[in-house]
């Protein structure tokens, strides 16, 4: 115990030790930093901090950090690629990186199939096995006669990190909970059939079919399949709908988002052109079977 030592001595040696340590390590560190240090653009960290960290990959990069690196260091990467972040994040990223501000067009996912097994869509066999769309598709292309239709085993809902998709137990079709969907597109990649698609949240309608067979053939196995009758094409005032490969497709860039869309008024026999509630916060999917059953006689009449 330092009983016999004078306080002055303690203070002096303290200062000495500290100074010695400080100087030697300080030099060592400064030298190694200079010799071996790796430069990291502080901008990357700043941008990274602003991103929502959903790691959804919706921007096209592996994760938020990768997008931050790309947008901070490359001129050709736009600042508005983060869909979950929306306009706010886009504006901040643009400001940080000194790029021109661009609006984010928020997008939502829709289900491009309305074929319900045993109801309006024919089935070719009974599938038994893993609850996995890929697995079902490997066996004779799935149990539906339609080779473009939804398989209903929920790969999309399992891929969704936001709990925005679930399979309706009655229709076996996915249902989107619009206010949970952030438009990341993970479900789109998970679907082996390409039944899911991202459309602008401002859209008013969508065509719930992907089958490119001829109308006469489609009619045989699906009552909810696009017949390529072109009624909707003719109804559209802004020429946003066209029929290609026996399937009507909406191109949303010329679409005027009419307040009362004319395309929804046409007598679409299979009811494949459906209203899209968009950002309204409601769930979207195929209407429940009773609704269709009421419509079917009307369509036939």
């Amino acid at each position: 115990m330092p009983t016999a030592i004078s306080p002055l001595w303690i203070a002096l040696s303290l200062v000495g030790v500290l100074a010695g340590l400080g100087v030697s390590f300080g030099f060592l560190l400064a030298w190694t930093h200079k010799k071996l240090g790796v430069y990291v653009d502080p901008l990357v960290d700043e941008v990274d901090e602003e991103l929502p960290k959903g790691q959804c990959g919706g921007c096209g990069f592996a994760g938020c950090r990768q997008y931050a690196e790309a947008v901070a260091t490359r001129a050709d990467v736009a600042p508005n690629l983060c869909t979950p972040g929306g306009n706010d994040v886009a504006r901040v990223v643009a400001r940080l990186t000194g790029k021109a501000e661009l609006e984010v067009a928020p997008r939502k996912v829709v289900v491009l199939c309305a074929g319900v097994r045993d109801d309006n869509c024919s089935v070719k066999h009974v599938y038994e096995g893993m609850e996995d769309c890929d697995a079902a598709a490997l066996l004779w292309g799935g149990d539906k006669v339609c080779e473009a239709g939804c398989l209903g085993l929920g790969n999309c809902s399992r891929a969704c990190p936001h709990d925005a998709l679930h399979i309706d137990p009655h229709t076996k079709l996915p249902v989107v909970v619009m206010d949970k969907c952030i438009g990341c597109g993970l479900c789109v990649g998970a679907c082996p059939r390409g039944v899911l698609a991202l459309i602008p949240a401002s859209a008013k309608s969508y065509i719930a079919c992907r089958n490119t067979d001829k109308g006469a053939k489609v009619k045989k196995f699906c009552k909810a399949g696009c017949l390529a009758c072109s009624l909707c094409v003719r109804a559209c005032p802004s020429a946003a709908i066209r029929v290609a490969d026996n399937l009507a497709v909406i191109d949303y860039s010329p679409c005027a988002n009419c307040p009362a869309p004319l395309c929804l008024d046409v007598k679409c026999a299979p009811h494949v052109i459906l209203p899209f509630p968009g950002a309204g916060g409601a769930a979207v999917g195929r209407p429940k079977p009773p609704a269709v059953n009421q419509n079917e006689p009307a369509a036939g009449a």
Partner: protein
């Protein structure tokens, strides 16, 4: 010789620093998510600890004790360790960038890791000579690495397990550590300290 062996085994198994003394838990739970990072961390930590123990021993026995500055031990040791780690950080960032990326914030946590500080402190407390200090440091490092690797391999397997939501991540890691520690109780009494 036997004495050194017993000290080493004691530090590795019987008084394992992680499982019976609860030191280095931040790294233990943080890094053990990945097996490869754990292996790297185990080696790095053992190295840092040995170097730091040597420097600390020298500092204490050559500077602090003669000057009767024992109360100054903690501060000095911490500075020594922090600087050693800072060096290691710079070197790995330059030469082993992938390892550096994996270690992430945990490399900096070595600087402020309990094990690294506690080993020199325990050495001083027990009045270990240089040889014993180093054996103790290496033993602590190996014991830590062992626990880390066991934990990492278990957690890799747990990735495939259907762990309940509430336990995911840290919860199950603690339960696992508890059971590991329960198993290590089997060594108790084997080497009297």
């Amino acid at each position: 010789m036997l004495e050194y062996g017993a000290l080493f085994l004691s530090a590795v198994l019987v008084n394992n620093f992680v499982l019976t003394r609860f030191l280095g838990l931040c790294i233990f739970f943080g890094v053990s998510k990945s097996f490869d990072a754990s292996a790297g961390m185990g080696v790095a930590l053992t190295a840092v600890m040995t170097i730091a123990s040597f420097l600390a021993w020298a500092m204490y026995n050559l500077v602090l004790a003669p000057l009767h500055l024992e109360f100054f031990t903690t501060i000095c040791f911490v500075l020594i360790i922090a600087s050693t780690v800072q060096l290691l950080d710079v070197i790995t960032r330059r030469f082993l960038p992938t390892l550096h990326a994996m270690w992430g914030i945990y490399l900096m946590l070595i600087a402020t890791n309990c094990i690294v500080l506690s080993v020199p402190l325990i050495n001083v407390e027990n009045g270990f000579a240089l040889g014993k200090s180093l054996v103790h440091a290496v033993g602590a490092g190996v014991g830590f690495a062992l626990a880390l690797l066991l934990m990492a391999s278990i957690r890799e397997r747990l990735q495939y397990a259907k762990v309940p939501k509430a336990f995911e991540g840290l919860g199950i890691a603690f339960i696992t550590a508890g059971l590991l520690s329960l198993a290590f109780l089997g060594f108790s009494g084997m080497i009297p300290m």
